[in-house]
């Protein structure tokens, strides 16, 4: 079904190189851009499997949006005793500056990237919610574009959902929250960002402006795009690819040169929509992840369709006891880290390291979560002329506007190191196309 793609894999990769499909990484302070290798064998998700996934993802993102709206306003979930207040106020992603601010149309997470793995028995588990600036959608977009050109027959023979609508989903989400029919822009930190390729590609495909911090000014608490000859156009929606800390030097990190001064004032007054909203980090914190199934029950009155990986919070006394006793079998994660950093496998630690980690867990219980290691499914990849099996995950993209949509595609990443369980583009590795089947 995909043999012609395997034959033409070099052609596909050459095209990608030509289009500049790259991934930037900072290592030891030096910026390097590298090719993000593409594997020609797609991950295939059957229609019935997809339907469950889709329903689960929509439910999860809807609950997370309600949670964000709640914790920056009434905090009903804290008052109900479901989430300890400490988890909100001491979360690194919680922004006190956002208290009481309701973003346009009450959407906080417009674009969510939910990372999943499939276990060997076929069950999907959510590993992580990314509600700040999930990146990576451009890779499957462009990969599909190229593979369709290189092997049109493959897409005639197989009934695969078209995935070329991602940019229009984003555009619809921007239109929906746009304030006063203003301009729509993607705000990029610039070309030294690991996802710069994606920023420019999405701007082009969605038909919106690619803006740098310098292009935007805030006057009378309204955001303007400064065009040629100092012509000023009102901005109604900003899809920003700059993290909260750097977004407004007058409200957050004062040394930021990437941000737009006083953007927070315009946002607080409801004069501009910012996608994703500020302060979303309070919901995708690894510590809060534990509570997502409870959020679904609390806000939607439903049972969670998608499972979390079995997780323990050392913050709770019983969980701590269990974690300390079973450390060898668990994976320990630092709640403040991302990108595959701060992940430790108990089975890889020697006695000294185990003792050190136990000490850390005892002294800073709020900082860690522990999860059972899921034996997730291996996918075939081509290594030279040989088929080998590697660990992989799936980032599903969920777009929230009037309704919540799951993009019928996703980013399947795999590790190149056969011994590694950490699948993250920052840690090396490649990606595949993800085929969602119509039947």
């Amino acid at each position: 079904m995909y043999s012609s793609l395997v034959k033409q894999r070099d052609t596909v990769n050459r095209w990608m190189e030509r289009f500049g499909v790259r991934f930037g990484i900072y290592k030891n302070g030096v910026f390097n851009e590298q090719i993000f290798p593409f594997d020609p064998i797609p991950r295939i998700i059957s229609n019935s499997d997809w339907k469950d996934l889709e329903a689960g993802l929509i439910q999860r993102v809807n609950a997370l949006n309600k949670f964000l709206c709640d914790i920056y306003n009434e905090k009903k979930i804290v008052k109900a005793g479901i989430i300890p207040e400490e988890f909100i106020y001491s979360s690194k992603g919680y922004l006190a500056q956002c208290e009481g601010i309701t973003p346009p149309k009450c959407i906080f997470s417009h674009i969510s990237g939910i990372d999943l793995v499939q276990s060997k028995d076929g069950t999907w588990y959510v590993l992580e919610d990314n509600l700040r600036i999930p990146s990576g959608a451009s890779y499957p977009m462009i990969a599909r574009d190229i593979t369709r050109k290189v092997s049109p027959g493959t897409f005639k023979e197989n009934e695969i959902f078209d995935n070329r609508n991602y940019a229009s989903l984003i555009r619809k989400a921007m239109d929906y929250v746009n304030v006063d029919d203003g301009l729509e822009v993607i705000l990029t930190p610039g070309r030294y960002n690991s996802a710069y390729f994606e920023h420019s590609y999405l701007a082009e495909k969605a038909g919106v402006l690619l803006a740098y911090a310098d292009d935007l000014i805030v006057e009378d608490d309204i955001v303007y795009y400064k065009g040629l000859f100092d012509k000023k156009d009102r901005v109604g929606a900003i899809y920003r690819r700059i993290s909260d800390d750097y977004l407004d030097p007058l409200a957050f990190e004062p040394d930021s040169l990437l941000g737009v001064p006083n953007l927070m004032r315009a946002y607080a007054k409801g004069n501009v929509a910012i996608m994703n909203a500020l302060g979303n980090g309070a919901a995708d914190d690894k510590g809060l992840y534990y509570f997502v199934p409870k959020m679904i029950e609390f806000y939607l009155g439903e049972k969670a369709i998608l499972k979390n990986a079995p997780t323990y919070l050392p913050y709770f006394e019983n969980d701590k006891k269990f974690v300390l006793k079973n450390l060898e079998k668990l994976v320990i994660k630092d709640v403040a880290e991302a990108g595959g950093y701060g992940v430790m496998f108990g089975r890889d630690m020697d006695a000294q390291r185990l003792a050190d980690v136990k000490y850390l867990i005892e002294t800073e219980p709020r900082r860690w979560i522990a999860q059972e290691v899921i034996d997730f499914v291996d996918l075939e990849i081509m290594e030279g002329e040989e088929k080998v099996y590697r660990k992989s995950d799936l980032r599903a993209f969920v777009v929230s506007e009037e309704e919540t949509h799951v993009w019928k595609s996703g980013l399947t990443r795999y590790t190149r190191n056969p011994a590694s369980f950490v699948v993250n583009s920052s840690q090396g590795g490649g990606f595949k196309d993800t085929w969602i089947m119509k039947k």
Partner: protein, 259 residues
């Protein structure tokens, strides 16, 4: 009740022209149970283009943008306030129980906390005096050794600081003992500079306390803004383009007026 007239002016001279200047100011007294604003005016130069808003803590903020070249910036705020008792009844926002960037409890804060002993029968008000006494021993007032970025822990390490540092240390220690505390920026009676102190929470109300002078913030204090620490309350912030030296002059006068 005491009636005060205040007059505040900050003037920045730039050695070269600057442009694309965004500013964010908090220099207007805050209305509360303990403070009523009778009259308040403010202006910004050049241009006097400004908009008013409230930040998340209820502080009035004045923001604006000056696009054209200019070589000075001036902000003035003046008016009349009536100051009542040192007590603001309010529901507690639990946020003020948790440490913030500049008030994190690290080794030096823990150390000073370990020297403090309370007895069970002591009220929060009594505890505040004990804490403040201890801080007076650990910190000496000295301008010029700390900056606006100095944390409570660093100030304790240096052993010296200004009102901002006294306030940060006090807040860090209070929060460590489970007493909610917040940073306050404002004016003090007399001529000179702006001042910083704290408010602590007891039962259903906030009370002002001035750790720099080791006494309750009453009377003679006009409150402008409160927040978790200095960063939430900064009186004037700005960013601009241009390569320049800056000279800052501050004028402040607060005096009682007879009715």
């Amino acid at each position: 009740m005491i009636r005060y007239r205040y007059k505040y002016k900050t003037h920045i001279t730039f050695s070269e022209n600057i442009f694309s200047h965004h500013f964010l100011l908090r220099g207007i007294p805050m209305e509360s149970e303990s403070q009523k604003i009778i009259q308040s005016e403010c202006s910004v130069m050049p241009g006097d283009q400004k908009s008013f808003g409230l930040d998340t803590f209820g502080n009035t903020v004045v923001s604006g943008y000056i696009g054209e070249y200019h070589n000075f910036f001036e902000f003035s705020s003046e008016g009349i306030v009536d100051v009542y008792q040192n007590k603001i009844s309010e529901k507690l926002n639990p946020l003020f129980l948790y440490s913030s960037k500049l008030t994190q409890s690290m080794s030096n804060v823990s150390e000073i906390c370990s020297t403090i002993r309370f007895s069970e029968s002591q009220s929060v008000h009594e505890k505040i005096f004990i804490i403040s006494n201890e801080i007076s021993k650990a910190l000496a007032y000295m301008p010029g050794v700390t900056s606006v970025h100095t944390s409570a822990d660093d100030a304790l390490k240096i052993g010296k600081g200004v009102c901002q540092d006294f306030a940060h240390v006090m807040i860090a220690v209070c929060r460590n003992f489970g007493i909610a505390a917040r940073y306050v920026n404002g004016f003090m009676e007399g001529e000179g500079y702006t001042h910083a102190w704290i408010e602590y929470y007891c039962k259903d109300a906030w009370y002002g306390f001035d750790p720099t002078h080791n006494r309750p913030a009453d009377p003679g204090y006009i409150k402008l803004a409160h927040g978790r620490d200095y960063e939430d309350c900064a009186l004037d912030k700005g960013v601009f383009k241009g390569l320049t030296q800056q000279k800052l002059e501050v004028y402040l006068k607060v005096e009682q007026i007879q009715q």
